[in-house]
Symmetry: C2
Subunit: 509 residues, 2 copies
């Protein structure tokens, strides 16, 4: 008896349609073996760049169906999903450009040099794909961090076939998208098995343990991610596990910033914290606001804007329950007030809100620990600080984060004063991306992007967004004294592929 | 009662001198905390490049004492240790050059671009040091892979202070070298605690579990390395563990190569397999030689050269016991012959030797598994193959390796024929460095070097030798919309440090 996989409408909790059945160990094995065999077809860089662009084109061609289906099983809204689809296509095309340019191959050539101790032989190094990559799709981005998302795009760009564990919150969208990607593969003359989807919790475990799986990418909860990280590390042959697990995304507002633009910061924060109903990995979840009148105005503006946020359904009812439990736990802590109490709206939706606590109230012990853990959904916690020692005390308690945000006044930004610089350095130690006078939501696809941070934000030092995400799926190999005709073309003297490379310590092209 | 740490003469098994006591948990904690506090002093790139060069100068100034002490507790010979010291200094200075050049900071700048979906804000990314690095010293390279070795040099170059777990085979050398490094620190105005040494097995475990330790480098056995890898992964906050655990380093000799230069290959192999009495991570431990007359001549030349190798003491008596046990186990397997039987020489030394087995004899089952595991010491295993299917069958059974070596004829090298190319591709899949018509021993310090390979050769995709080894101790961070005066100087528009960088997709300098 196979377990059915249903697409569910989070706005009503009703089953929409049966999409698939959960994959057995044998199904996962078949998918991984097929991917492994298909992988060779990705060795040709021209073919895989074309494939990535073909995926973007197929997704755009199927946009309407994907957006409607996506909305019906995630409640994220058609406008948001249409823009997520655009972002996903930007990402696929950006990785095609990365493949074309070839800098990711990191070609380094050293000619023989007997003047060094020990002597250097002819050495030529570049990077090769690791093999089959397992991708664990996110709940909150059914496109950009799921079947056609950054992990898949970067793995394909690296030359690795992928097997994706679909997220149960959007199985129908996953299958629709898979079909689009496979049409692109077929059109490009690639085997369809370069990309596969499996459904089911157990399938995810079979996948991470499969001997032919060479690396994994994950976006999700600390609990689920850590379990898979542990399984990856416990294998007879451990594999790299690049997981993005959770992040509080602290924000610090200086006294001068609050005095300068309390209303603007308050309303901006409300918009960022409730974007996608607070279901963003980079939602600002903890905000340090000065005590005193400007801070009061900031919190009032924040509360006013939050009270105006339209209630809505979260991605699924388990998340709704967790959100309501999380809010109840936090709002019940000593000294915690709720100027706008987040809570249920009817049977299926939730309302956004705000919790506030004084920095002086936070104990040294573990009593307020829950405030320093991510609460997924439309709530943010404001800590009112009386002096900078309270800011330090709060930052000391934080685990690693994807982002950290600092709001400073125009004067503080101009002067580059040492106190502000020290605070920025402090935040840099806590996060992978530091935002000044802006908001962390909206993760641009760019070379200079870094979407990752100290654990538990990420389980490795890598990024899951931006061009350098390709590095996760490659390993270097060096060739010593290898006759030119036997070398891979990427490493030959004549540079027949016109790759950027470093030769004898100098960069060419 | 503290446990004493003795320097022992492996040529006599006699205790030479008590060097230290084993570090307690409190000692390790003190060393890590001191390193953590001292780390800030390494933020200045000029200071740390000077420190690395100062380390090289201090090691050279203390050369005689280090070489004599090193030989007395490792039996590696003064000539070898003098050349290892030169290599170690080359490595320290190479990393100083890497620090000066600044390319490792990987500066990427993207200016705002509203034409992309989603829009790109001002993003500037570079890499920052991870924090305190734990280094686990190797037995077989008391300098180049120990206290002043590649892990230490690359970590310091990255801006990370180090705490080194000394290897029990050379504690006196470790302390001598530590004193030299600390003199260099003091001369450069750096706190001495930027580099520390702890002794003792338990100290190594305390170190890997310490909350302030941010990453680890290891060179040693599969058993010890895997235990530490597991401990690193099991931490509440897992950390990167870059371990080099073991490698068989397969060699394939084609029929044409054997026909062309059987004697040269045989004697070359003997020299490589017994360099440092076979105590190299890259010792060729499994050699595929064709059946037939040229292969017979190759094996005869190999046996003749091995019989002439001067017996000597291994690094310690536990290794001697393991070597003799390993040889006994392997030579007792069905079909295994020993044209030169490796074995004991007196009470303390060992003789080099050779085991040979026919490819046709190797069963499908696990009977000959031991032949596919590293046997540390002066022995190599030759498999005589009747046809290429037997080569494939052997390669199928191999785990990951640091190196793989291919010997081809001049014709095969010129022609670049597809069979040879396929074999090279096959070997590339098994190793991190591929050597053609040469030997894997002698690991050059160069940018294009890669010393690492699929597990168990390495626990990560990184290298422990060469310029890119610095990447292990860094993590990227991106700054979004950060006013220029608040940015780290490395990321400012004017590029005050003159760093190589990528701006809007184009490389500068």
């Amino acid at each position: 008896m196979r377990t059915s996989v249903w697409s569910i409408d989070p706005r009503t909790a009703a089953r929409r349609v049966q999409v698939a059945v959960e994959a057995t160990a044998a199904d996962v094995d078949a998918a991984v073996r097929a991917a492994h065999l298909a992988g060779g077809a990705l060795a040709d860089r021209v073919a895989r760049a074309a494939f990535l662009r073909g995926c973007a084109a197929e997704l755009e061609a199927a946009r309407d169906a994907i957006v409607v289906t996506g909305d019906s099983e995630t409640a994220l809204g058609e406008a948001r999903l249409a823009s997520e689809l655009a972002r996903t296509c930007t990402q696929l095309r950006a990785f095609a450009d990365v493949v074309d340019e070839g800098g990711f191959l990191d070609v380094i050539i050293d000619h023989p040099d007997d003047s060094i101790a020990p002597p250097v032989p002819d050495l030529r190094r570049y990077k090769i794909p690791l093999g089959v990559v397992a991708v664990y799709a996110a709940s909150n981005f059914p496109l950009a961090f799921s079947v056609p998302g950054g992990d898949t795009a970067s793995a394909i760009a690296a030359g690795c076939p992928v097997v994706i564990k679909a997220h149960p919150d959007h199985p129908a969208t996953s299958e629709l998208v898979l079909a689009a990607l496979r049409r692109a593969a077929a059109a490009g003359g690639l085997p369809e098995a370069v990309v596969s989807v499996v459904h089911g919790f157990d399938a995810g475990l079979h996948l991470i343990r499969h001997p032919l799986v060479a690396a994994a990418g994950f976006t999700g909860s600390v609990r689920g991610g850590r379990a898979l990280f542990d399984a990856a590390a416990a294998r007879p042959t451990p594999i790299p596990f690049h997981g993005e697990l959770g992040s509080l995304n602290p924000v610090v507002v200086t006294a001068a910033a609050a005095a300068e633009r309390a209303d603007e910061i308050g309303s901006g924060l409300a918009a960022s914290a409730t974007l996608g109903l607070g279901q963003f990995c980079v939602k600002p979840g903890l905000v340090l606001v000065p005590a005193g009148e400007p801070g009061d105005r900031l919190v009032a503006a924040l509360a006013e804007a939050l009270a105006d946020v339209t209630p809505g359904a979260l991605l699924d009812h388990r998340m709704r329950d967790n959100f309501l439990d999380g809010v109840a736990e936090r709002s019940g802590l000593a000294g915690v007030e709720a100027p706008v109490l987040p809570g249920p709206e009817g049977e299926h939706a939730v309302r956004a809100g705000l919790l506030v606590v004084s920095g002086g109230t936070l104990g040294e012990g573990s009593e307020h620990d829950a405030l320093f853990e991510e609460c997924f959904g439309p709530v943010t916690v404001v800590v009112r600080y009386a002096h900078t020692a309270q800011v330090d005390a709060v930052l000391d308690r934080l685990p690693g984060n994807l982002t950290a945000t600092l709001h400073v006044s125009a004067d503080e930004a101009r002067a580059g004063d040492s106190q502000t610089a020290d605070l920025l350095t402090r935040l840099t130690g806590l996060a992978g991306r530091v935002v000044v006078n802006g908001w962390p939501t909206g993760v641009a696809v760019a070379e200079a992007q870094h979407h990752g941070g100290p654990y538990p934000a990420t389980t490795s030092t890598s990024t899951s967004v931006g061009a350098t995400a390709i590095e996760r799926w490659l390993r270097p190999v060096a060739f010593q004294n290898t006759p030119d005709p036997l070398l891979p073309p990427e490493l030959r003297d004549t540079n027949p592929m016109g790759l950027p490379r470093r030769v004898n310590g100098r960069r060419e092209a």
